[in-house]
Symmetry: C2
Subunit: 494 residues, 2 copies
Amino acid sequence: MGPLDELRFRLAEGSDLRLAAGVLGWDQRVTMPPRGTDSRAEQLATLGRIAHERFVDPEVGRLLDACEPLVEGLPYESDDHSLVRVTRRDWEKARRVPTGLRTEMTREAARGHHAWVEARRTNDFASFLPYLRTNLELKRRYVECFEWSDSPYTPLLDDFEPGMLTSEVREVFAVLRPALTEIVASAPEIDASFLHGDFPPERQRAFAERLIASLGFDASSWRLDPTAHPFCTSFSNRDVRLTTRYQPDDLESVWSSLHEAGHGLYAHGIADTLLRSPLAGAPSLGVNESQSRTWENLVGRSRPFWEHWYVPLQETFPSLDGVELDTFVSAINRAEPSLIRVDADETTYSLHIILRFELEQELLEGTVALDDLPEVWNARMKEFLGVDVPDDAHGVLQDVHWSSGSLGYFPTYALGNVISLQFWQVVCDALPDLDAQLAEGDPLPLSHWLRDNLYSLGRKLTPKETIERLTGSPELDPGPYLAYLRDKNAALTT
Amino acid sequence: MGPLDELRFRLAEGSDLRLAAGVLGWDQRVTMPPRGTDSRAEQLATLGRIAHERFVDPEVGRLLDACEPLVEGLPYESDDHSLVRVTRRDWEKARRVPTGLRTEMTREAARGHHAWVEARRTNDFASFLPYLRTNLELKRRYVECFEWSDSPYTPLLDDFEPGMLTSEVREVFAVLRPALTEIVASAPEIDASFLHGDFPPERQRAFAERLIASLGFDASSWRLDPTAHPFCTSFSNRDVRLTTRYQPDDLESVWSSLHEAGHGLYAHGIADTLLRSPLAGAPSLGVNESQSRTWENLVGRSRPFWEHWYVPLQETFPSLDGVELDTFVSAINRAEPSLIRVDADETTYSLHIILRFELEQELLEGTVALDDLPEVWNARMKEFLGVDVPDDAHGVLQDVHWSSGSLGYFPTYALGNVISLQFWQVVCDALPDLDAQLAEGDPLPLSHWLRDNLYSLGRKLTPKETIERLTGSPELDPGPYLAYLRDKNAALTT
């Protein structure tokens, strides 16, 4: 074996271990008997430890040294150049964190998560505070393992948005925040009462399966299961697992399913040649999220899409019989400030994110004390969204992320919104008949365009390289997203 | 860490890897989208390779050398003495097989399995023959890695029944064969037509869940899923996965579920202190099978059991309303020669096994040529069971085992029958009120006795040590099994 084959073999093994851990994680959330938890945690810890040990092995560095001259002349986007380049970046980053710190982070993340579940249930922030403090302290130590130019927050952000600077995100959010506040303030009041009613879960399930099957998945390559918290994962581009949640009194499963299907189409579209390698993924959470948002919102809340699907929906749920298509489309696009991020509409959602992004930086830098967090949270919610937080369970304790010390993750959701519209402009230029195609129930031209121009590239490019490849410029640009929201709100039928 | 802790840590990691592979295997058979097959095979191969490499590491031998003096004075059945003793045996055995041969066996097993699926579908033994030849040749090379005293078949048997000799099994089967033939010949003809009818799968499922929940599992520690081929696996003693098959026109799922629940109770009963170690299992397939047979047959076809459960069964399936309890019990206990092993009744089943056991030895020794196998099979089926084999799909191609070169596995099924009755005698002495308890729907005294006296020991003892521990003698004894069958057939109501 030459060094390139040897590198590929080692990375394929690492990929198998991570995918195996993925299967264990899916099983834990979807099918595992609850009392299997402790053993599952051990199994996952072992897989993670072995994969990490094998990856940070100095031998990988020697192989990279030997491979770099071999791929030098190849095109930047070739599989081999990308493999060596991206692996070098991953390897250098992984080696900076001492094993002891990594182990401690894993253990405290699990402890923090347990404490959070209980604290949220009992609305008891004080009981969660020591765990949050420990996890935050570990994150500070983690940040110290890296060099950063603009903000200590950048190494955290970089885990999810490789190469993105905190200052760049700040700039985007500085434009978004006042604009979103203004859009929300002027949003019309919409009657959406018909979206609450009697929607039998079994019918929701059948409808969601039918929707997803139409989006461009190959048959026998995906499945949809019910879970408490919807998510998507995959163990190859032909083994895509979507989950959703069926509430008997609303239709949220429709958009939750489309959202996860967007992630799923990304995984499904990754080129076969990238399987079993570190390139079999998306460039970042933000770019990945741009596609879940695309399918959930840009497609799944659009009038053309429902021109095709509204009659099947009415046939499935007769209580919608008297509701006009335009009324329905307005209701599913309305903006309305609320307390809970995961329930937020498309317009207010990014405000929930900006609030968290700012707080995370302040916590990291120590300018907001942990003890004051609930108070600050509640004041900001009033300031950003005009809502009063009744208790911490519906406030600062609502999200799982901080419980395991996951800082830097939240902004990716809002970046997903921004990027989705930057890409959507390109898509609309490339597919002038898109609206007509969606209205005919044919999303395949869209699905295939995105696969060929984005999903198939896997993780070869950084987020900014990806944005540049599609739009011609590497910059994040909140303009299209804001224009879309303004247009949409203006078009709502009250 | 002392050497014992270090050994435990390494073995725990190995156990985690094997259990992770188990989760991937369960998922593959129960939930995986079909097109995930190729990637799953890679993931499983990687987990198996890494687990094997880490286990056969000479460092494990050095740790065993260091641990053996430390456990010398401990009781034979203590966790630590057992761990070192059993690991030594496993390690010596694992190291005898060169990695190259092991890899080849894994690859050809997979190829053979694929070929068999197609050959069985198209009833084409010739297309399967080259794969069978390759796998048999590899088994011969595998056997050469070991020393054996009585038969080259013993190393194969030893993979499933550690320490058991081919000659010992031959002796038992030499008693069984004529006796079973005689019992079958004199078995009364029983009308069991009411066992075929309209049995809605959803009701079968609810009934199976209800049955299983009564047997002694802790809540939230098991689940039951439908599959094409019923099986049981577990990823800790609190994460037990049972599967069964619901045919809409019969009630076989009842006994298939009880069978798998028997395996499941074994896994569930393993002592917590043995988790994440090579001792977290059963002594052998035969001993494990003795318990699936116990719950399926000795409990699940007994009159006392149905004294409690027959009314609930009739309430679930009203077509049984006019059928008397005795008529029902006779029907589920009838003996009737048939073509297919997995559909065979309790009495004829072992004859299917003895046929395979003899053929396996003859194939291995070359006294039956592979080309003649279908012919020999059909002649033996006539001789053993008096049935005419219509085609190879219902003959020599019916079982999956040989497709992946699994020789030595079949006899464990019949040993399970034999051992189950040896243990049952002890159980009946220990629990004089057992029949009354079962008739009251209370199998917990039985379940707990088996857990405390057998399941909790895990894999500490060999099969023969286990038989000795329970019965006082290490010998396999077909007497109780034959007496049971004779008594049962004599009691059938025609």
